[in-house]
Each structure stands twice: as structure tokens, then as C-alpha cells.
Symmetry: C2
């Protein structure tokens, strides 16, 4: 049965540690665990030009994604989780890991018409 | 330099062909090409329990993601593209591939405060 998904779109400004893919991947996995979600796989890519990182953790409950622009101190993070997973807890782990000075979050419900 | 990202959140109802991971992966790649985006990698997972598919195409311009619930004829699709990539064109390819009877799209700008 479908449980409507919570989708958090977080824009993180004045962030740091935006180029270390291994550290970012560890943070995303820690975030998934904090949410009580089940990790299926993860993949991160580093852009040689800018040092920016783009990546994804696929979850049984949907996904966490990140795209960073270190030259702007900016990261776009998505936490999309269905069921009982705690999306807000996951986002707090990532915000702390990136030391974001400011975070703008939009909270959307996916599949709302299935309820 | 950062070009603000367009992020389309599409909820597709009354959709079909939601269990064929190979076909869905081909559609996502075709969508990326229609947008003029550059594919970095893709990964799709099939849930044995429901036949649902969850997956992702990472792009140089950000990502396309999909999560399907075949038992509800529902798919949640994200098209997040920075720069000049044509996100709307990508979404139309996916909608057509899934034969969605109805699609609800929210259009968000990511990193708006960097402009």
C-alpha cells in the first residue's frame, strides 16, 4: 500500500566541506540511518573542474540526493521518504555535516491524491 | 558559475509500464537526451515484493529520479536540471513512456538566492 511521501527540498547556503565526496557519502548514509531508512545503493561523482560533488543514495523509502557548488558555498539537497521514515532527522544530519549557515526548506507531499 | 536549477516534481497518476526496469531506464536516458543533458551514470532497482521500480540518472546538470507503485498506477518523477538543459522536454518523454493519464507538476527554482 502507498504511504504518501514526504519530500524535502533544501537549499543550503554558506556551506562548507562541499568537495569531499567520501565525507559527503558518509553523511548521506548517516542521514539515512538517522531516518530509519534502508539503503539500497549510493553513488557520488566529483567534477574535476570545480571540485563539486553530485550524488545519490537510493532507499527502499525513495532517495536522498545532493549537488554541491563549492565556489558558491551552495548545496541542493533532497530528502524524499515514504512511509514512516523520519525525513527531517535525515536533513538535520546533512545540514550539520555541511555546516550550512542558512537552509531554505520546502516541504512537499508526493502522491497526495492517493490518500 | 551557478545557473539556478529548475526542479520539476511530477506526480503521475493512472500510469502503466511501471514494472519494467529496463524500459524505464531507457526512457530516463532518452529524457536526458531530449533535454540536452549529459548522463554520468544510472541505476535502477526492482522491488521483488511489488514489482515497483526505484532509480536515478545522475547528470552533469543534476538528476532525474523515479519511484513507481504499480499497484496504484502511480509514479513520482523528479527532473532537476541546472543551466540550459530543457527539463520540461525530459518530463514529457517520461510521461509519454508511462502513459500517464494525469500528471501534477510543481515547478521549483533551486538556489534562487544565488542569482
Amino acid at each position: 500500500a502507498y504511504h504518501p511521501g514526504r519530500h524535502l527540498l533544501a537549499d543550503l547556503y554558506d556551506a562548507v566541506r562541499l568537495t569531499d565526496a567520501a565525507e559527503i557519502e558518509a553523511s548521506l548514509k548517516e542521514a539515512a540511518q538517522a531516518a530509519g531508512a534502508t539503503i539500497l545503493m549510493s553513488h557520488l561523482h566529483v567534477f574535476q573542474s570545480s571540485g563539486g560533488v553530485t550524488g545519490m543514495v537510493l532507499l527502499a523509502e525513495s532517495h536522498i540526493s545532493i549537488h554541491t557548488w563549492p565556489e558558491h558555498g551552495f548545496a541542493a539537497v533532497d530528502v524524499f521518504m515514504c512511509g514512516e521514515a523520519r525525513a527531517e532527522a535525515a536533513l538535520e544530519v546533512i545540514r550539520a555535516a555541511l555546516g550550512a549557515g542558512r537552509m531554505v526548506v520546502r516541504r512537499e507531499v508526493r502522491g497526495a491524491e492517493l490518500t
